[in-house]
Amino acid sequence: MEAVLQISFFFCLLAAGYFFGRRAEKKHYQSIFEREAALRYLVISSDRMPPPEYLKHHGELVCGNVVISLDYFKFVAAGLYQLVGGRIPVYESLLDRARREALLRMQAEAQSAGADAIINLKFETSRISGNAGNGIGSIEVLAYGTALIPKTP
């Protein structure tokens, strides 16, 4: 009896993770696409030196970060993928979303500072273990770079 209860609890969690996680991911991608289209004019590059046309600009550090969490379905699916090895698509989409979101936040900060380019972009990813100790938890992605702001004459 107890085993049945445990198994049904597990499937409830799995179903909740699947439905809510999918919906959240879909919505998130939708908003990422929209904002990316709006911010496309802001050039991001990983060059360490400013391009010649930006030599008269003023530089300032900008950063954007996001903490994003796995849902229960993905957690279970990733465990299964790890048995056979190879790609783990559920993690790939999570990291892709997080990285693009961090970039967008950094771009938004640069935009409000009046910048027109960002150079020397760096990413940093770290794992945040919540209260669960060895559990999955979530990842943090930080994007930072130097925003180039035109000097007002």
Binding site: G21, E101, R127, A132, E140
Partner: protein, 109 residues
């Protein structure tokens, strides 16, 4: 007091480095209270962004930067270049944020 220039590139357009003053750093260790951790645990079932943690980390990153600039100001720098961030989790629920860079004196070209 005028604002220190912080940047993660080595050559600042329109300025020249006249003096290198060495490495400066700032770090902070923070944790969220248990209630927020429980909420985050629930989010692990449904997925999505943990905005409490996002805020926590961006606040602590700001604090690390502030401590770094304070140190730079104390040794007489007017800019910190080549700034890097680093994050590590110390125990479950707490993380350390470190910001470091080179303190320099810049002059207009």
């Amino acid at each position: 007091m005028n604002k220190l220039l912080i940047s993660n590139i080595e050559v600042i357009p329109g300025k020249k480095t006249v003096q290198h003053l060495g490495l400066v750093q700032g770090s902070t260790v923070r944790a969220k209270h248990a209630g927020k951790d429980i909420m985050a645990g629930l989010k692990n079932i449904f997925g999505g962004e943990l905005s409490a943690y996002t805020d926590l980390l961006s606040e602590s990153r700001q604090e690390a930067l502030d401590r770094m600039t304070e140190q730079a100001r104390a040794i007489g720098a007017n800019a910190v270049i080549n700034v890097r961030f680093s994050t590590s989790s110390i125990t479950a629920g707490a993380s350390e944020i470190l910001a470091y860079g080179t303190a320099v004196v810049l002059e207009d070209k």
